[in-house]
Amino acid sequence: MARENIYQEEEFPSPLMQLWYNFKKNPMVMLAFGSYLALAILAIFSPILTPFSSSQSHLEYILLPPAWNDDGNVSFLLGTDKLGRDILSMLMHGASFTFGLSFIIVIISAVIGVLIGSLSALTSGFKSSFLNHFLDVILSIPSLLLAIVIVAILGIGLSNTVLAIIIVLIPQFIHITKNEVKKEFSKDYVLASKLDGASPLRLLRYSIFPNIIERVITQATLAQSAAILDIAALGFLGLGAPSEIPEWGAMLSNGVDLFYIAPWTVYFPGLAILFTVIATNLVGEGLRHALKQRKVY
């Protein structure tokens, strides 16, 4: 005997879907999200997508202006640099370094930071107070300065830059995780499972993490935009990626010598960084806004 479904079933979207609904309301944010995805695709597949290899020198086309210029050439859409390398290909390839690496950096430092943060939230007393003070001190040193010092210890180079920025970003994840975990711990549902006899680790794993993960992701987008700017800044200062690698900051610093002869070698990498950071920030902003909206209902 089949029961007829006469009531229109009320659908309760999962929290994640709610978040998505709120998120996609804003067209600006969606545009940014699209760009973000495009950058991600570019970062992964750039070796296949680029018109030329980013290290290939076309000696007959040195310092070619962009294609819309009178002296430009359509096959080099954004012109070439002083070694005759195609700027467009370098920028596309650079997405793997500046954008792709920042993504990896943020994931690694978030994982480490969340682990330490949640463990430290479980401690109390002197240890906790010491950690707090210690974090305060570390957070009071500007991130770029700290990264510069770490590069000074490890030596100049891209992999050391990555390591340095990972280390620099960890404290803020510890900080936010700790605060969030402490906040959640005082809530009733946690108390309920505590009464059920759940161990602190189980509490963390099943009750608290699902509730703070979105916060962490929001923090991660902020951290990513900072990571992009830091990678680029270190590259620009000559402490990060070496000049052969088409990392955007390093490209820009190569271009500075040619600023007056070939300004496009400075304009485009800068625009690429700006565009990427804006997209990342807008995504983060949209996420935060959507989280806030969801809380309202």
Binding site: S57, L59, I62, K82, L83, G84, V256, D257, Y260, I261
Partner: protein
């Protein structure tokens, strides 16, 4: 609270704007008396005797000092300076200089001269170099690279003071380039009285740090990496100087220097980039001068496989010099066929241009026994010079060329200049991008240092290449003053060098300088450092 601070700030701004409005007249007075020259680096010291770097020569020689004689005019004829005249004996071994009697040394906060320049000062300046027992010989390291290169100590047997204002040099053999060498920026005259004062206070090393000379400007202040401040020498013997303050603004960044010129923060800049940008501005001028120089790729001929001349030849075939001229010099240089630039009388137009041919390169490399190529290191100068403004990029281009014939190149660049040079003299390299700037117009200044055995064995040149036949030809050429026979000797040398290729000549470039239109007077010289003596600001 915010309103208060806002108000404060706005008032502050207004006051400033008012001041900008009213005091332009005074600004003009101070800045018309001063010239700011943006230089490319810090000097190593303030005595040209002990250095060879062109940065130091630019900053010191013609500003602080004078030589006995000097090169003047378009033909770079020898003309009087501290010596008002000179006389050479018939056999060419005794040269007598008659000094001017009206030359004052600088009067500064750290030294007050009590007498004018005389023969003692000349003797002191040269004995410091010649006599290894001299009190001042080992101050600042005891190395006089320019004088070592020209074998000064062998050549000069004796210097005597004939009277207060007459000095005689006795040479061990006639040397047609001797006077030219004395007229370079390295052979400056120091003050003996100052040295005696320093000895009295046991502060000898100050002689090369706090300079006293006879030149148009005197030292006031120096901050390493930042600036040098000179003021006019009020008792300068030649004529009145037109500017009161001369400031060297040390700006190592290429773009930084050009920016300062375009933004009018510098009156003159050394080695400008982006020449078009200067030419298109009506208030700026681009000066150029044919400088006698050479950028080359030198092989360490003591190391395999570069001891094989076929390998050197193959590399020479593989290098696309035209691309280098376009990319590095933006077309503003000549491809070098030999070590001698076309402007010199020793230039031989019969020496053919080295061919660029990948297929010939591959064949030659096969012939040499390296069909699969090899891996080499290429050292690129970490500093910029007129002859090579960007050695790193040049090395990258060459690496790209050599890749095509199967040679892998590791570029080495990350050293400070002095360490880089030291490692080169130790022969750590396979090949190096270096260069040479002549100090005077005599072509010997190319041949002896670049190809002569005494010079190459010191290692600065980077080749360690010594050929007895070439060495003999060069020496014979110095014994005669007949230009035609000298040219024949040099032609033979060039032919051997072209066949043996210890170094591949790459380019002869010009030296450039950017300046504001209101700066007049000749600054650049074809040889040696710049001079601000005759510069005016309108």
């Amino acid at each position: 609270m915010s309103f208060d601070s806002t108000r404060c700030f706005l008032t502050f701004l207004c006051i400033n704007l008012l001041m900008i409005g009213c005091s332009n007249e005074n600004v003009a007075t101070l800045s018309t008396k001063s010239i700011i020259y943006c230089s490319e680096g810090s000097p190593e010291g303030f005595n040209p005797q002990i250095v060879i770097s062109s940065t130091t020569i630019d900053a010191t020689s013609n500003q602080l000092y004078n030589s006995l004689i000097t090169h003047k005019g378009e033909d770079n004829e020898l003309s009087p300076a501290i010596a008002k005249s000179w006389h050479i004996t018939r056999d060419g071994t005794k040269i007598t200089f008659y000094l001017r009697q009206d030359i004052d040394f600088h009067n500064t906060s750290y030294f007050t001269p009590t007498r004018k320049l005389n023969a003692d000062d000349v003797l002191f300046s040269f004995n410091r170099i010649l006599d290894s027992e001299h009190e001042y010989h080992d101050v600042s390291g005891g190395s006089y690279p320019f004088f070592e290169r020209i074998n000064f100590n062998d050549l000069v047997e004796d210097i005597e003071k004939l009277n207060e204002y007459t000095v005689r040099f006795t040479l061990s053999r006639p040397d047609s380039s001797f006077l030219a060498n004395l007229a370079t920026d390295f052979a400056v005259i120091l003050s003996k009285e100052y040295a005696d004062n320093l000895s009295a206070t046991y502060s000898q090393q100050q002689i090369d740090l706090l300079p006293i000379g006879t030149g148009p400007f005197k030292y006031k202040e120096y901050r390493a990496g930042a600036f040098i401040r000179y003021t006019a020498h009020e008792n300068y013997w030649q004529k009145d100087i037109n500017i009161e303050h001369l400031i060297f603004d040390i700006t190592p960044s290429n773009t930084g220097r050009l920016t300062k010129l375009l933004a009018k923060e510098c009156d003159v800049v050394s080695y400008p980039i982006a020449h078009n940008k200067i030419v298109e501005r009506s208030d700026l001028v681009l000066n150029e001068i044919t400088s006698f120089n050479l950028a080359y790729l030198g092989f360490n001929t003591t190391k395999a496989p570069f001891n094989n001349k076929l390998v050197r030849k193959a590399i020479s075939y593989a290098i696309n010099k035209e691309a280098i001229i376009d990319a590095i010099y933006f077309g503003k240089a000549d491809i070098a066929n030999s070590i001698i630039p076309p402007a010199s009388w020793a230039y031989d137009e019969n020496i053919p241009e080295q061919e660029y041919s990948i297929s010939k390169a591959i064949n030659t490399l096969n012939e040499a026994g390296y069909p699969d190529g090899f891996t080499m290191n290429l050292w690129a100068m970490p500093v910029e010079r007129a002859f090579n403004p960007d050695a790193l990029t040049m090395a990258k281009l060459i690496a790209g060329d050599l890749q095509k014939i199967g040679i892998n190149v590791n570029i080495i660049y990350d050293y400070e200049w002095d360490i880089f040079l030291k490692l080169i003299t130790e022969g750590q390299h396979h090949a190096a991008l270096l260069g040479w700037t002549a100090d005077h117009p005599d072509p010997d200044n190319f041949f002896t240092p670049l190809l002569g055995c005494s010079s190459t064995s010191q290692g600065y040149i980077g080749t360690f290449w010594c050929n007895d036949e070439v060495d003999d030809l060069i020496k014979q050429s110095l014994q005669t003053s007949n230009i035609r026979s000298r040219k024949e000797y040099y032609s033979d040398v060039l032919k051997i060098a072209e066949d043996e290729l210890p170094l591949i000549p790459i380019a002869h470039s010009k030296r450039f300088q950017g300046r504001s239109k209101n700066i007049s007077g000749q600054l650049l010289k074809p040889f040696g450092g710049i001079t601000f003596e005759k510069v005016k600001k309108n």
